[in-house]
């Protein structure tokens, strides 16, 4: 426990211990909150544009040239050879050792909105929201393997063990609603992300900042209800007795400030038992809203339900919500026509619903939506797979988008080469996305740090570059 907390705890307890209950009234609530919870809201480094963030994770990697980054040249060069022999940094030498052919996009593009944004047929619903979205077409990665790239996207490093973006944001800002977790993860149970909870872990930060995985069937939080057959009276009696015994034990033991902190954590848990089921109550949403998120269709229900949960959480003050598609779902090495169509159908309507719903509730300005995968995909594929062609991993370019939360609506940042292979203009790295998220949430990525293993650690390590063109 860091000394700062110890001192605060100590002060808090010594005031109470000195019989100074009246004195406590003079203290500001900030001190009180700070003495009890590491998740209490903390002031940002600079005024925040976004209060919350919803991170929509497209696991497997989306093909930019089939979704938001049209490349007419692919038509022209379709079925011709793309030469990799000059590539010094190939991510998967085995893959590129074989002859490869360029593949034109199976989908047509059109221009949408006042901003005239390009969107393919894969996203008919998102196409109606483009004036609220900001596309960055030039995100580059470091490693073309799923887990390493996913770690990079989540923690800024290709290796496991570091705190994730959501944990860093909680560390920097705390969270608004003390009755709910500050960082919620909503994975798809059909296939959990590689490395499981390490992807949303707190790393070297205190465990309080780790993501809490919520389920969308049954109870949303583990152990929210007793595992045994307990009546409400049983629970109340237990709680009352525990409270009494614990309070009696405080006497004379003020040298341990955590005793009080632990009593408080039980009170919070007790409140959560009451509050969480009410907050995450999809039944109370009206029919129109449910439809907006696609809860009425088997295809969209999983992602849609979680988008709706994300909105409910953000509404109640949760700081960071991260959604995942099933592990490797977008990973269309073969038969991209089928694979990408299926994945797009599952998320297109729910995400459009989320953007529109946040907007109509005046929450879009204060909620940053981030949409991205761990890398982009190649313009070509191995020649021997022509009849069931797909696209391979590509760390040289990926398209992502922001919406709301102080991002600049209706703009496109950066450009890729004529094949959509490499980012060429205004090239950004994963850590720049992190810096931008932090910036919009009121945090300076250089100042958000934690001392660990001999030095000050940061999400962006030696610093990222805020994608200014994407910031309103």
């Amino acid at each position: 426990m860091n000394p700062e907390w110890n001192r605060r705890h100590f002060l808090y307890r010594s005031l109470v211990g000195a019989g100074g209950l009246a004195l406590m009234d003079f203290l500001n609530t900030d001190l009180m909150a700070a003495s009890t919870s590491p998740l209490a809201p903390k002031p940002p480094h600079h005024p925040a544009r976004a209060k919350s963030c919803i991170f929509l994770t497209m696991l497997g990697g989306v093909a930019q040239m089939d979704t938001f980054d049209p490349k007419p040249a692919l038509e022209k060069f379709d079925n011709t050879v793309l030469d990799w022999s000059n590539e010094k940094r190939t991510d998967q030498p085995d893959l590129y050792a074989k002859p490869r052919l360029i593949l034109k996009s199976p989908w047509k593009f059109s221009k949408y909105g006042k901003s005239g944004m390009d969107v393919s047929e894969l996203f008919p619903h998102l196409a109606t929201c483009v004036d609220d979205m900001t596309f960055v077409k030039t995100i580059t990665g470091e490693n073309g393997n799923h887990p390493a790239a996913t770690f990079l996207m989540n923690t800024g490093l290709v290796l496991p063990g570091r705190p994730s973006v959501g944990a860093w944001v909680g560390y920097g800002l705390g969270t608004e609603n003390q009755n709910l977790p500050g960082f919620v993860v909503l994975p798809d149970y059909r296939a959990l992300p590689f490395s499981g909870s390490q992807q949303w872990g707190a790393g070297f930060l205190p465990a309080s900042y780790q993501g809490t995985m919520m389920q969308w069937k049954g109870d949303p939080i583990n152990d929210l209800r007793p595992a045994g057959q307990l009546s409400p009276k049983d629970m109340q009696d237990q709680m009352a007795l525990l409270r009494e015994y614990n309070h009696a034990y405080l006497d004379g033991n003020f040298t341990n400030p955590d005793l009080q902190g632990r009593i408080d954590s039980y009170e919070l848990a007790f409140r959560m038992q009451a509050e969480v089921p009410g907050v995450l109550n999809l039944a109370k949403e009206n029919e129109a809203t449910r439809k907006m998120y696609g809860l009425d269709s088997d295809t969209t229900r999983s992602f849609g339900t979680r988008c709706l949960m994300a909105r409910q959480l953000v509404e109640k003050g949760t700081r960071f919500v991260q959604l995942y598609t099933p592990s490797q779902s977008w990973d269309s090495h073969t038969d991209i026509v089928k694979g990408h169509a299926k994945n797009a159908q599952e998320v297109d309507l729910p995400i459009a619903g989320l953007i529109q719903d946040l907007k109509q509730r005046n929450l879009l300005d204060s909620t940053l939506i981030v949409w991205m995968g761990e890398f982009g995909r190649t313009p070509d594929h191995p020649a021997d797979l022509r009849d069931k062609a797909g696209r391979d991993h590509n760390t040289k370019a990926m398209t992502m988008f922001f919406a709301g939360g102080g991002s600049k609506p209706g703009v496109t940042v950066g450009a890729t080469d004529e094949l959509g292979w490499r980012a060429v203009d205004k090239v950004y790295r994963m850590r720049d996305v992190h810096a931008t998220i932090l910036h919009l949430m009121g945090l300076n990525d250089m100042r958000l740090m934690h001392y660990h293993a001999g030095r000050n650690m940061r999400l962006t390590d030696t610093g990222g570059v805020v994608i200014r063109e994407a910031v309103a």
Binding site: F10, A18, N28, A207, S208, Q215, Y249, T255, Y451, G454
Partner: protein
């Protein structure tokens, strides 16, 4: 937004003699300088002779004089330059620092404590850390305080200087609970408690300590501390997170090492060079078994990307990880920081990282055949294998038989495999599919299990003979990039310690062996090494007292904490060597000190806390929250559910179906109910699937070396401990046990429940309140509720 009222407290901190390096500098100032100034003001060509890499350098200053005057921003040269009050304005040639940053810098310098302490501490620290410990004189005390051994003299002399008295001794009951949890991680049984509490001998406590040190559960408890440090896991991590079926043998090796009191120098050497050691390990009181091959598992414990695309990068990552963890675990230095550049704070040039790494250049991963040792239960292992092989054969027959039956059901020409693969095929019923699935899963389960009983060591080896002479050269890599090769280096020890940067002398280590790791191991496990003994005694101290004498146990460097009692640490380190690196001797020394036996309460606690809020002077015992493993094991012990089976392959706990199904790369088959009740150290350590209770209660994360667990208090812990399955099941078991032991009388039952859980009778008020639980409940229900409350009490999870 620090509340104003806190300022006096912080300033008062400066009075404490063991001031750590100024936090204001480390957290606020240093990062600003690092980002804006270090480009020119660092390294051998630092402009104007000023280096901004650490406080000592800034206080020393460059050719214009000291750059910072702590507590006085106005007088600090650095402020005058960044403000442009002095020419040239800094950063030179660039934009001025933003006003907000200047203000921050100013405030931070103002908040630093006055000169004196930190300057001296900074300079002294390096010379202390990098010189071997010399036994200091045990201080003479002015007062009449009682001392049990020299530890007390060192602690009391510091307290005397401040005018403080130590806390009174803890009660026997408190001490009993403390030492049981500390040494074996479990509460005493009633009989064990009575044996101590009613022992009239003057040395009852010393006898107890000896008894516990001889108990095999001691190893199960203390091995966990070591496993945290060596990032022990039984799976690779990353995408596949593949199983390491025999990694448990390293875990058991560590348990045995603690139980047998393996000399720490041997313990270190075996883990680095168990295959090269010329010196036969001497094990006191036990048969001599060569466990070196198992011990080498240490070098394998890092994460491993099984499906990596770059073999060369994978190997480099492995070498880097190994170098970093070795130096952190054994030397308490963050040498890993020097992978990309010279260490920013410690005198460790980048070259040193690669010279250290070169000791591993001849090492390759290897699953080595290694027969089971007697101490591993050689016979039992063989029986298990035979049993599993038999069962597997039966299971395989069963699959064939099911398939034959199903095939018979299908009409001619229909492929069974196709019908099974197609979920919608009408040819098979739900029942058919289930039968087939059950049969094949049984085969899978047994195959997995069988692999865990193979006589294989998860280990390393030298590059294949006779290629030893072709060891790949090691290069300094600019920025740590594989492609950016600089000068090639030979294996060599840290320059700051040995005083010169030259190749290490590598002795003969046997045929086909490079001897490199042996050379490294001998250098580390040597009394002449300034860090090894200090770092280990500090770790032992940390686990007994809740905090180390150095509170950054894996960072003794400039950025680490300053020791609160440097003389005591040095005295302990020299004792450690003198007592032949016996860890148990260190336990005995620390546990029998009066310092350890103090109460957590102190009559003057409030006054003392004003100048020593973190109890660095040890005027009382620290409170310790039991770790996640101890918490779970204790609940099981108290309820009577604990399965004491020691050693062998780990147990697989139950996970929720939806979670288990979400993992596609591996199958997770829970062990049988009884096996699931084994101690937590025997829980299978899968990196992507930690036990939920461990995860929520701050267990080590298995990916990086963890020298000090955080202690957080969050609501999900309360939910888990109140509502979770462990509590639900064990509270009922507890209730049944209490009734069995206490009979039908509620008062007797409540007394018994308190005795089992807290080693004390309830107070009158507690008894009365507990009785209300019986209203409208059967006794077993009432006691299950009481058990749940007891498992959740502060008194239960904290050690006084």
């Amino acid at each position: 937004m620090r509340p104003i009222i806190l300022v006096p407290v912080i300033v008062a901190l400066g009075v404490a003699s063991a001031a750590p390096e100024d936090p204001a500098f480390r957290d606020k100032i240093q990062p600003i300088l690092q980002n804006n100034c270090a480009g020119c003001h660092s390294g051998p060509k630092a402009q104007a002779g000023l280096s901004v890499t650490n406080l000592a350098e800034l206080l020393k200053g460059g050719k214009r004089g000291p750059a910072i005057s702590p507590g006085q921003a106005g007088r600090s040269l650095i402020m005058q330059f960044v403000r442009g009050e002095k020419n040239p304005r800094m950063p030179i040639g660039g934009k001025a620092l933003p006003e907000s940053l200047i203000a921050e810098l100013e405030a931070a310098i103002d908040s630093m404590k006055a000169v004196g302490e930190t300057t001296v501490a900074g300079k002294d620290h390096a010379s202390w850390v990098f010189s071997p410990p010399v036994a200091p004189k045990v201080p003479a005390l002015r007062g009449a305080s009682s001392i049990a051994n020299p530890i007390d003299a060192f602690v009391l002399s510091k307290l005397e200087q401040q005018g403080f008295a130590p806390a009174p001794p803890a009660s026997r009951r408190v001490l009993l609970r403390r030492v049981y949890f500390d040494l074996i991680g479990l509460p005493p049984t009633e009989a064990e408690a009575r044996a101590f509490l009613e022992d009239p001998a003057a040395n009852a406590y010393e006898k107890l300590v000896d008894r516990l040190l001889a108990d095999h559960r001691y190893g199960e408890r203390w091995a966990r501390h070591w496993l945290d440090l060596v990032r022990f896991a039984e799976s690779d991590g990353f995408a596949i997170d593949g199983e390491r079926p025999t990694a448990w043998r390293y875990r058991d090796y560590v348990i045995r090492a603690f139980n047998n009191d393996k000399p720490y120098d041997v313990f270190v050497q075996e883990q680095l060079a168990g295959d090269e050691m010329q010196r036969k390990p001497a094990v006191r009181g036990g048969q001599i078994e060569n466990e070196g091959i198992l011990a080498l598992g240490f070098l394998r414990m890092g994460p491993w990307e099984r499906d990596a695309n770059f073999d060369a990068q994978l190997r480099l990552d492995w070498l880097n990880e190994m170098t970093g963890t070795t130096t952190q675990a054994f030397l308490g230095l963050t040498v890993g920081c020097a992978r990309c550049h010279d260490h920013k704070y410690d005198p460790i040039p980048q070259k040193d990282f690669y010279r250290m790494q070169a000791f591993f250049a001849s090492t390759r991963i290897d699953e080595r055949p290694m027969p089971f040792l007697e101490s591993e239960g050689r016979l039992e292992m063989r029986q298990q294998v035979r049993r599993l092989e038999d069962e597997l054969e039966v299971a395989q027959e069963q699959v064939k038989s099911v398939e034959r039956q199903l095939q018979a059901k299908l009409k001619e020409g229909n492929s069974l495999q196709k019908a099974l693969a197609d979920k919608d095929s009408p040819l098979l019923t739900v029942g058919d599919r289930k039968r087939h699935k059950d049969a094949t899963e049984q085969v899978q389960r047994l195959t997995l299990d069988l692999a865990r009983y193979q006589p294989i060591a998860y280990s390393v080896n030298e590059v294949a003979p006779p290629a030893v002479m072709d060891i790949e050269p090691t290069f300094v890599l600019a920025g740590g990039e594989r492609s950016a090769k600089g000068a090639s280096v030979e294996p060599g020890f840290l320059e700051r310690i040995v005083g010169k940067s030259e190749a290490a002398k590598i002795g003969y280590a046997g045929r086909y062996r490079s001897g490199r790791r042996q050379a490294l191991a001998e250098w580390i496990a040597s009394p002449a090494n300034p860090l090894t003994a200090r770092v280990m005694v500090n770790r032992i101290w940390q686990h007994h007292f809740g905090e180390g004498l150095v509170r950054t146990p894996s960072d003794f460097g400039m950025n680490g904490d300053r020791p609160s009692h440097p003389e005591l640490l040095d005295w302990l380190a020299t004792q450690f060597v003198e007592k032949k690196w016996s860890v148990k001797a260190m336990h005995r020394l620390m546990l029998t000190s009066n310092t350890y036996r103090q109460s957590t309460r102190h009559p003057e606690a409030k006054q003392i806390a004003e100048s020593d809020p973190e109890n660095r002077l040890l005027s009382r015992m620290n409170w310790i929250r039991v770790e996640s493993e101890v918490l779970r094991d204790s609940i099981l012990a108290i309820s009577g559910g604990l399965n004491r089976q020691a050693g062998g392959p780990g147990m697989f706990f139950r996970v929720k179906d939806e979670v288990a199904q979400g993992f596609q790369m591996f199958k997770w088959y829970p062990s049988d109910e009884k096996a699931q009740l084994r101690r937590s150290i025997y829980a299978f350590q899968r990196r992507s699937l930690p036990m939920p209770l461990m995860e929520v209660f701050d267990a080590a994360n298995m990916s990086e070396s963890c020298s000090r667990r955080s202690v957080t208090t969050v609501a999900p812990q309360a939910l888990t401990l109140l509502n979770g399955e462990l509590t639900a099941v064990e509270a009922q078991r507890f209730a049944a046990r209490v009734i069995e032991l206490a009979g039908a009388d509620p008062v007797q039952q409540i007394n018994k429940a308190f005795a089992l859980a807290l080693l004390r009778p309830p107070t009158g008020a507690e008894l009365e309140r507990a009785r209300t639980l019986y209203e409208g409940r059967r006794p077993e229900e009432a006691l299950a509720r009481l058990g749940t409350v007891l498992f959740n009490l502060n008194e239960f999870v904290y050690l006084e």
